[in-house]
Symmetry: C2
Subunit: 362 residues, 2 copies
DNA sequence: TGTTAGCACTCACTCATTAAGAGTGCTAAT
DNA sequence: ATTAGCACTCTTAATGAGTGAGTGCTAACA
């Protein structure tokens, strides 16, 4: 049961209006603002049909219509036109993202900040999942007689370290041997793989001719090694612009605001949810989000070295400017991926720097 | 103009009652609940005097009295009795804090989490300020032909690193020389000191006989070195239990809640404010906090290796259980400091493990 | 002189009533 | 098929009475 051209126009108009004003929209105001060449009465009839089909709802009998999740879904899939970023937003992204390109977590956090600033919504960013990261080398560095630093370096420049205090003394030579030994054993394997295999069999026992002292050192180091690997797998979540939602009428009731805020108190749960989402720009609307029933979630992925994948996203009410937000996120993630192509390089060309070609500043 | 014994009793009673119920307290209910041996009329007279002296306020003529900031101040300074932690809270702290003692930031964050859980308020924790941290050694590690890792290690086991990509190739030997050279130059100096001196004079130019290649390498590394030092100085702020305030009647209006939340959106500002506060348990009430006029802020300090100083704190309405919260924070920070005496050791005795001696579980 | 009982008065809060306004849904005319 | 007209519904804001908690004052009391 397809929608007629006119019905689509009306639906589009209602969505536009509602996204703008956050108030149920009536037939008369549609007729006035959008020049559809029909009277309010006709529009009323169409609206009634649209409601029957589930695209609109009625807060109460004598109120205007409000788009349903289904309507937004239709809009996003079929009606929405690709929007060009305003020159201002492009400039903002280009400038602000460039500034902090060498510190990884910093950059991600900045990106989230920027995103919430531009969209006026709550945003978040996840550092890349490193399951697939492979180990490059392992190093043990002396600090004092009993303290040393364990350092694990991944192929993509990821570095994690722990300071550990031993119960047994060690020599520089012992550290060198163990470092080399561990590097030989684990080099080229993914973190996931190493962790899994370590649980099953006590890897590394293939090393022959180990002195008692070395054995003791090894016994001291291995638990830390495992813990550090686990630490390396951890993904960081940054949230920005939470208070933005206080400006939106849908969160003017304290209960709604509380519910919203509490979603993010469970950072771990939220992180898991986000990691499960698909690649590219993904939009889930209202009911499509198990919890968060009256939110829309838009996520997008960025790449590091074309391999590791991180996520960035915004959360807001289902009433949002889908065209703008998706456009921003696409641009932003492209930009991020480009920045992370060569970690730490600082003189590559800025991607998508086609400023001034199209312009539609608000 | 001192307060009479009876006035103090009445003030104390009003504070107790108000802290409990968050509602203006009237003369009659005081007379009934607290056995002061005087009639409501007498209490009314005293209350009137207390109001004149600025210890109480009137929301409106026909309402009960509410303690003023001045009253809370008096209470904290003179009236409040040291409270013993409930056995339950002690156990909670001992157990939960022990679990994650080797990862620094983790532990701090856990402590904040715990604090907000026990107090039902919003809490935060700052990692230690490292201005006074001294450099132990600097290491440069090769990753591939053009990529290397710069690692700075502080005396207290603090480690920070960056991955940097060079424009010039290098050899292992060059790295060794430069590492050693930098270590010799900076070892034993504080981060602050190094950063300051580096701005004034280009340190390290005293090194003679440097080849052109070494010079280039050095030129590539130094900016990262400075940036990494700055990074090392950065203090991390963790906030927990923000949504707890939604359960408090003082934040039942959306505006109050918004204002509260927005305080923490400016993380940098907040961090600065907190760093400026004194050592030990510090309580600032209402107006004493420039912004945050109707909050009370309680902070306490913990130590790392008896030297570096970090902060932990709670924020809530001026109406709070000062005795309990300060007791908890004292216990918690002692515990933390003890945990951090030997970073990374995992078999020291648990401090303050005198469970069961006093008990007043709620 | 300090304490207390009594009482008038104030003010917030609740609840019901009313009126206004926006918008629908139906019907009949075009 | 479209539209004008109109009754009907429901929300929202404003008004006002009634209620109750609590004060402040005064006069009596020990």
């Amino acid at each position: 049961m397809d929608l007629s051209e006119r019905q689509l126009q009306i639906l589009q108009a209602i969505i536009n209006d509602y996204v703008e004003n956050a108030e149920p929209v009536g037939s008369r105001s549609i007729a006035k603002k959008y020049d559809l060449g029909v009277s309010p009465a006709t529009i009323r009839n169409e609206m009634s049909d649209l409601e029957e089909m589930g695209y609109l709802t009625h807060p109460h009998t004598s109120a205007g219509r409000v788009p349903s999740d289904k309507a937004y879904r239709l809009y996003v899939n079929n009606l929405m036109k690709k929007k060009n970023l305003s020159a201002r937003d492009k400039r903002l992204i280009n400038e602000r993202l460039q500034a902090s390109r060498d510190e990884f977590d910093q950059t991600i956090r900045h990106a989230a900040e920027l995103l919430s600033e531009i969209t006026h919504l709550t945003s978040f960013a996840l550092t890349p999942a490193t399951n697939e990261e492979t180990i490059s080398f392992i190093r043990l560095l002396p600090v004092d007689e009993r303290t040393l630093i364990l350092m694990i370096v991944g192929e993509s420049g990821n570095v994690t370290n722990t300071t550990l205090r031993l119960k047994v003394p060690y020599t520089q030579e012992m550290l060198d041997v163990l470092s080399k030994n561990m590097t030989v054993t684990y080099k080229g394997r993914t973190l996931d793989d190493v962790l899994r295999s370590h649980i099953i069999e006590d890897v590394g026992s293939d090393i022959e001719a180990m002195s008692a002292a070395m054995d003791a050192l090894r016994g001291n180091v291995m638990p830390s090694f495992i813990r550090t690997l686990e630490d390396m797998l951890n993904v960081n979540l940054y949230m920005e612009g939470m208070t933005n939602i206080f400006n939106l009428p849908e969160y003017s009731s304290i209960d709604r605001a509380r519910d919203f805020m509490q979603l993010f108190a469970q950072k771990d749960w939220f992180t898991q949810k986000m990691l499960q989402r698909g690649d590219g720009v993904v939009v889930t609307i209202g009911d499509e989000n198990a919890k968060m029933k009256d939110c829309t979630l838009i996520t997008a992925t960025y790449h590091v070295d074309g391999k590791l994948v991180g996520k960035i996203g915004v959360i807001g009410p289902t009433r949002m400017k889908y065209d703008e937000v998706t456009a921003i996120m696409e641009y932003l993630t492209n930009n991020l991926s480009e920045s992370f192509r060569l970690t730490g390089s600082s003189d590559s060309e800025q991607p998508g720097a086609d400023d001034g070609s199209h312009e539609d500043d608000k």
